[in-house]
């Protein structure tokens, strides 16, 4: 499975860049485009560590930053419900891009070794206003930073931090609303090696792990007021070369990614590869994480993951995204219907990219279930 490496890199890191393109009318005065910034560095590591071989994952150490590497990502997304059963998707991401390799001395207090960007999205189901904002700052004068033991990642007043007991807390406020959550690990993290997607020494340009289930509770503030919310979240973590992976595909392939949580306590991480130009045979691969934490990799003919119905056309540029998908894994007795929480969750990177919260309905082991997750769709722009 070593071939899947660069595409996973793309899927995960393309997701990181999304937060840099606000959809609200008034962009902030200072806007750092981490995508262009990272691509400007090219693939030369310039003193930063190269990702080779296996990583010896250790927690909570690896929750914190890895400044030896050029880029790093903390990407938290999930679905919350309030006491009135109203649903909200949410997303809080932090990206750290190293400016100078460790060991380089900088004298000034204003000197920064990195740039941090962060993005927040609150996506109510239905027609209420989407709240979206971003922050960016150099890691100087305490304006932004990432530390480990215990993990703290922040840009201005937006924070993601971890307690001694492993629980996470986030806090972020934007013009239209804000979010404060406490998150408890409900499942052990899954590392790149455990996912079994890469042969030893043939991984992608970065190391990664993900936390496939965090129980969330806290407070959501929108124009309508404050609400107590609870739900579940998924945390993606990756560090290494960011620049290579932001095109929404590699070579002749485009990749879609699905991070799904089922209400029976199981999760799925699925990747769908296809030819950019169409034709060929799309290759789906899913890692199924059972309620007891055991993982199972199903590929290609062991499952079907395909779009159904027509596609949604973006009012922005006409790009057509298939937003309704069906997943079937007969060997796991699983069938899922995947639909977006709302249609307009696209991003504008170099290429059109849809990345948003989805709702699930289906059956697993004969029982009906629901769930939620995130879907990233790339490579649908005609001009790419």
């Amino acid at each position: 499975m070593r071939w899947i490496a660069p595409l996973l890199a793309v899927a995960v890191l393309a997701a990181a860049a999304w937060l840099l393109w606000p959809r609200v009318a008034a962009p902030p005065a200072e806007q750092i485009d981490a995508a262009s910034l990272a691509q400007g560095f090219g693939t030369d590591t310039q003193g930063f560590a190269k990702v080779t071989g296996r990583w010896d994952y250790s927690f909570p150490r690896d929750a914190g930053p890895h400044p030896a590497y050029r880029g790093e990502l903390w990407d938290l997304s999930g679905q919350l419900t309030d006491s009135q059963q109203r649903r909200y998707g949410f997303r809080l991401s932090f990206v750290r891009i190293g400016l100078t390799a460790p060991g380089t001395r900088r004298e000034s207090e204003l000197a920064a070794t990195a740039v941090m960007t962060a993005g927040l999205a609150l996506i109510p189901a239905g027609n209420a206003q989407v709240i979206q904002d971003q922050r960016a700052s150099r890691t100087a004068l305490g304006l932004a930073g990432a530390q480990g033991a215990p993990m703290q990642v922040w840009v201005e007043d937006w924070r993601l931090e971890q307690d001694a007991d492993g629980s996470l807390h986030i806090s972020a406020r934007a013009a239209g609303g804000g979010l404060e959550l406490s998150l408890r690990q409900a499942k052990a993290p899954v590392t790149a090696e455990q996912a079994g997607l890469f042969a030893a020494g043939k991984g992608p340009g970065f190391h990664f792990y993900f936390e496939p289930r965090l129980s969330a509770q806290g407070r959501l503030v929108t124009a309508a007021g404050a609400a107590e919310v609870q739900g579940s979240a998924w945390l993606d973590r990756a560090w290494g070369e960011v620049g290579a992976g932001l095109a929404g595909g590699a070579g002749q392939l485009a990749v879609n990614r699905f991070a799904l949580q089922l209400d029976d306590g199981s999760e799925l991480m699925c990747i769908h590869l296809r030819r950019r130009a169409g034709g060929g045979t799309p290759i789906p691969t899913c890692l199924l994480i059972a309620a007891d934490g055991r993982t199972r990799l199903l590929q290609r003919r062991e499952l079907t993951l395909a779009p159904v119905d027509g596609a949604w056309a973006s009012p922005r540029d006409g790009t057509r995204y298939p937003l309704h998908w069906r997943l079937a894994m007969p060997a796991a007795d699983l069938v899922l219907d995947i639909r977006p929480l709302r249609e307009a969750q696209e991003l504008r990177l170099g290429a059109p990219f849809w990345s948003g919260i989805v709702s699930l309905q289906g059956t697993h082991g004969g029982r009906t279930l629901t769930g939620s997750g995130r879907m990233d769709l790339s490579g649908y722009g005609t001009g790419t």
């Binding site: 071939w3 002749q252 590869l273 030819r275 045979t281």
Partner: protein, 469 residues
């Protein structure tokens, strides 16, 4: 074998004979009878040029762009030395060849040696069929995923062409047991996509595809091709051998003109293959015991397998199914369910100098180098020569312990383990694929029971003699 089936075979043979005699054979679906296979004069060639072509040229005219090959494989260094590899090929493992496509893109593709050469005691032996290849993986995943490393219009066009072809035949390129080779099934599936006259490719098959899954076939050694009148187990592959040998070109050769160009140098490859000699048994031989074995061989085995040494003679004898008694599925499928492929072959460039004539039987092979070519029979179902000589010693379920097992000098073959159950005892395909299950369709290990009449001492002597071939 149930007597009704024997009657059925005889009846079918009789009908085939009648049809042939009546001259209704004008669509080329003739069948052959058991008995000696006539020889055909083979076109001469230059063996030295043939060796150079074998290791440097490609009969498959599509492949993965070299840059994508580098990126996706990490460019592994060749593990075995293969003399005469020139240019880029000197840097590549023996099973792949690089060449320049007419489009100008440098491509890498599998070559004949991937199946027809194998390591033996640390050296690469050309012509030794590789009995440890793993065709259980899904080629579609590999060829589609390789697209991640492909850039630019020219490379993309080449990659797509290659990926589309491989994907079209993928179901016939996959087996579920290590060691068995799908070459026959995948060649038939390629034919089904081509116009026999023009060789033009059609994405939609033009005739009914071959059955799935492929029946198990063991790769025979090359060093006997000079003696064999028919190249294949069931007596097919008569006439001009070059055209059969180059059938891999049906992957991407889309015109008769291109096929003719390949044929022009493939004559030399055949000439080289005809010079190959079997590797000598590398362990001690008890010459007295072997001499006693030779006496036994002359009385028990010579009539079908010929004689060896100073005055050697090979009878090219096709033995009827009900006489040899080995798994009939391969011969039956070629005889009863392959008329469309026989017609295709006979009407095509590949059949220009031959006539395909399947038979209900198997050819007793030459035994040169038999010590090295375990496992045995056309389907590789019998792990050792000792088990060939004693049906009671043949395991129903067995496996090798990895791709480089130790050699068993007493049993004459690779060391193996007998198992109590079949694949179902293992949860993962990684374990299941190693199990040779002789109860499955096409995998039967019965028949060739001619050694059962021997006593233990006689078998030992005969085994010792067979080591000398």
């Amino acid at each position: 074998m149930p007597s009704s089936l024997i009657t059925g075979h005889r009846l079918a043979a009789l009908l085939a004979a009648v049809v042939a005699l009546a001259g209704c054979d004008n669509n080329g679906s003739g069948k052959a009878e058991p008995g000696p296979i006539p020889s055909t004069h083979q076109r001469p060639g230059d063996p030295a040029a043939g060796y150079d072509a074998l290791v440097n040229r490609s009969v498959v005219t599509c492949g993965l762009p070299y840059r994508a090959y580098l990126a996706s494989t990490g460019n592994p260094a060749p593990e075995y030395s293969l003399p005469g590899r020139r240019g880029r090929n000197a840097e590549l493992p023996y099973g792949v060849t690089a060449f320049d496509a007419p489009s100008g893109v440098e491509l890498v593709t599998s070559n004949c040696l991937a199946c027809h050469a194998a390591p033996l005691n640390g050296e690469l032996v050309i012509g030794l069929g590789n009995e440890f290849l793993d065709f259980t993986g899904d080629p579609v995943m590999a060829v589609e995923a390789a697209g991640a490393y492909v850039e630019g219009d020219a490379e993309t066009a080449e990659w797509q062409r290659w990926a589309d072809r491989i994907s079209a035949i993928a179901p016939w390129s996959m087996t579920d047991t290590i060691g068995v080779n799908p070459a026959q099934a995948l060649t038939l599936s390629l034919m089904a996509h081509r116009d026999p006259k023009t060789l033009a490719w059609s994405d939609e098959p033009l005739m009914r595809l071959p059955p799935r899954p492929p029946l198990p076939v063991s790769v025979p050694p090359w060093w006997n091709v000079g003696k064999k009148h028919a190249m294949f187990y069931n007596g097919e592959g008569r006439g001009d051998h070059v055209r059969y040998m180059m059938l891999a070109s049906t992957t991407c050769t889309d015109s008769v003109a291109e096929a003719r160009e390949i044929d022009a140098w493939f004559k030399d490859v055949r000439a080289y293959l005809a010079t190959l000699k079997a590797p000598a048994y590398p362990y001690p031989i008890d010459t007295e015991l072997a001499a006693a074995g030779e006496e036994l061989f002359r009385s028990e085995c010579r009539r079908c397998h010929g004689t060896y040494g100073a005055k050697s003679y090979y009878p090219n004898k096709l033995v009827a199914l009900d006489k040899v008694g080995t798994d009939p599925k391969l011969a039956e499928q070629a005889y009863y369910d392959s008329d469309r492929f026989v017609r295709w072959f006979n009407a095509s460039f590949y059949g220009e100098r031959s006539r395909a004539r399947p038979a209900l039987g198997y050819v007793a092979p030459p035994l040169n180098g038999i010590w090295a070519t375990a496992p045995y029979l056309h389907n590789g179902s019998v792990p050792t020569v000792a088990a060939m000589l004693d049906t009671g010693a043949r395991p129903t379920y067995w496996r090798f312990d990895g791709a480089e097992p130790a050699y068993d000098q007493a049993q004459v073959g690779w060391s193996y383990r007998s198992l109590k159950q079949g694949r179902e005892q293992f949860a993962s395909l990684d374990e299941q694929k190693w199990v040779y299950d002789t109860t499955r369709r096409g995998y039967g290990n019965g028949g060739h029971d001619f050694g059962d009449v021997l006593n233990a001492d006689e078998r030992l002597a005969l085994l010792e003699y067979l080591k000398t071939l």
